[in-house]
């Protein structure tokens, strides 16, 4: 996550911990996007992604008094979202979905229609690829490749040793590279 996000969160945390709903709503506004992106990439199911994100923020609000200031709020939220998502994926109600609605919304900047279509296809293909990764690899790949988090932080979020996290990430990158070669992608 970009540092500016953390800068924006910092003044809100103390107020939210003290029970300020407006401050908490602002935190949700800031963190909703990355949390939804994480849960969506993990589940590839729009409805489940929003439900899990909502559960995450609800749990965060209800337990904010236990939040320790020295921890990073975004990491804490990712950890809650991660636990909820892993539980969801382990439950019988979760389904393996090859997403055809892989864009929650189209927020692309100005670009040619051809390029937009190509990017859409590419990202849809990558989502399909990600659904084939083991859950832990997918999770680590999400947190590193898309959220750019340090391995030590991913280790805290996932509860796996840093070495395990690195191995998971490396394996996912190897597989993605092979996959991209297979579909003829070139840098």
């Amino acid at each position: 996550m970009k540092e500016s996000y953390r800068d924006r969160l910092q003044p809100l945390i103390e107020k939210a911990v003290a029970g300020d709903r407006d401050a908490f709503s602002e935190i949700v506004r800031i963190m909703m996007k990355p949390v939804v992106a994480l849960t969506y990439r993990m589940t590839q199911n729009r409805e489940a992604a929003y439900d899990l994100a909502q559960d995450t923020f609800l749990a965060a609000w209800q337990n904010l008094s236990g939040f320790r200031g020295e921890a990073k709020l975004d990491s804490w939220l990712y950890r809650i979202a991660t636990n909820k998502t892993l539980n969801y994926l382990a439950s019988p109600k979760s389904t393996v979905v090859v997403a055809d609605d892989y864009r929650l919304t189209d927020t692309a900047d100005s670009t040619t229609p051809e390029k937009l279509l190509m990017q859409k296809e590419l990202k849809g293909i990558v989502l399909d690829f990600m659904s084939t990764l083991p859950t832990r690899q997918r999770l680590v790949f999400n947190l590193r490749f898309y959220r750019n988090l340090p391995f030590a932080e991913i280790s805290e979020i996932t509860g796996n040793a840093e070495g395990t996290v690195k191995t998971n990430y490396r394996e996912a990158v190897k597989k993605l590279r092979e996959y991209m070669k297979q579909i003829g992608w070139q840098a």
């Binding site: 939210a16 911990v17 003290a18 029970g19 709503s25 949700v28 909703m32 990355p34 939804v36 992106a37 969506y40 990439r41 929003y50 994100a53 909502q54 923020f57 609800l58 749990a59 965060a60 609000w61 209800q62 337990n63 904010l64 008094s65 236990g66 939040f67 320790r68 921890a71 804490w76 939220l77 950890r79 809650i80 636990n83 909820k84 539980n87 382990a90 439950s91 864009r103 929650l104 919304t105 189209d106 927020t107 692309a108 990017q119 990202k123 490749f145 898309y146 959220r147 750019n148 391995f151 509860g159 690195k166 990430y169 490396r170 990158v173 190897k174 590279r177 991209m180 992608w185 840098a187």
Partner: protein
């Protein structure tokens, strides 16, 4: 290090500005590693954007409204005198999970107390054990994890005993739990 080892490192650090100095130096000198690094960087730049999954403004406001409705429906508010008792109850149940031997240390004022890291580890084991049970992936647990959790969690005496334990805890012990637990691990 040889190029093969640098490749392993590159797979961990591509797409970032903060390359380890040794790796950055090697990439500058080695054509093969530089090509590999640039290939992965290209992949990150093509696929690494996160915003395509973000909710748009309308979805975001709807999300926030549903969340606030849910918070109103499920009060308690974040800061209440009861909330950390609830936390302590959960914490106590988790402590039970890891076994009488650890509890013995915790309550022995003349001996070693349970370190926060041990509690966090116990919580991690607990989460992983639950997931493994649901997945029937018990092989994913290490022998130590399986041993620690298998003894107590499978005996189904976690939550019943937690209530009794909570009544037996002194204020000092409850405070210890409050100060040393990371709630994110429990959610």
């Amino acid at each position: 290090m040889k190029c093969k080892e640098f490749h392993e490192e590159i797979m961990l650090y591509f797409g970032r500005a903060d390359l380890p100095a040794e790796l950055a130096g090697h990439i500058a000198e080695c054509e093969s590693c530089r090509a590999f690094y640039e290939e992965l960087n290209g992949m990150a730049s093509e696929l690494g954007a996160d915003d395509e999954f973000y909710p748009n403004e309308l979805e975001a406001e709807g999300f926030l409204k549903r969340l606030n409705d849910e918070i109103d429906r499920t009060q308690p508010a974040a800061v209440t005198s009861v909330s950390w008792y609830k936390l302590a109850g959960i914490a106590a149940s988790v402590i039970l999970v890891v076994g009488i031997s650890l509890l013995g240390n915790f309550f022995n004022r003349n001996g070693a107390t349970l370190e926060p890291t041990e509690i966090n580890t116990a919580v991690l084991y607990y989460d992983e054990y639950q997931l493994a049970l649901e997945n029937s992936d018990l092989y994913e647990l290490s022998d130590d994890q399986f041993y620690i959790l298998g003894n107590d969690y499978t005996s189904k005496r976690t939550y019943d005993a937690a209530g009794q334990l909570l009544e037996d805890l002194s204020e000092e012990e409850l405070k210890y739990l409050e100060e040393n637990f990371d709630v994110g691990d429990l959610l």
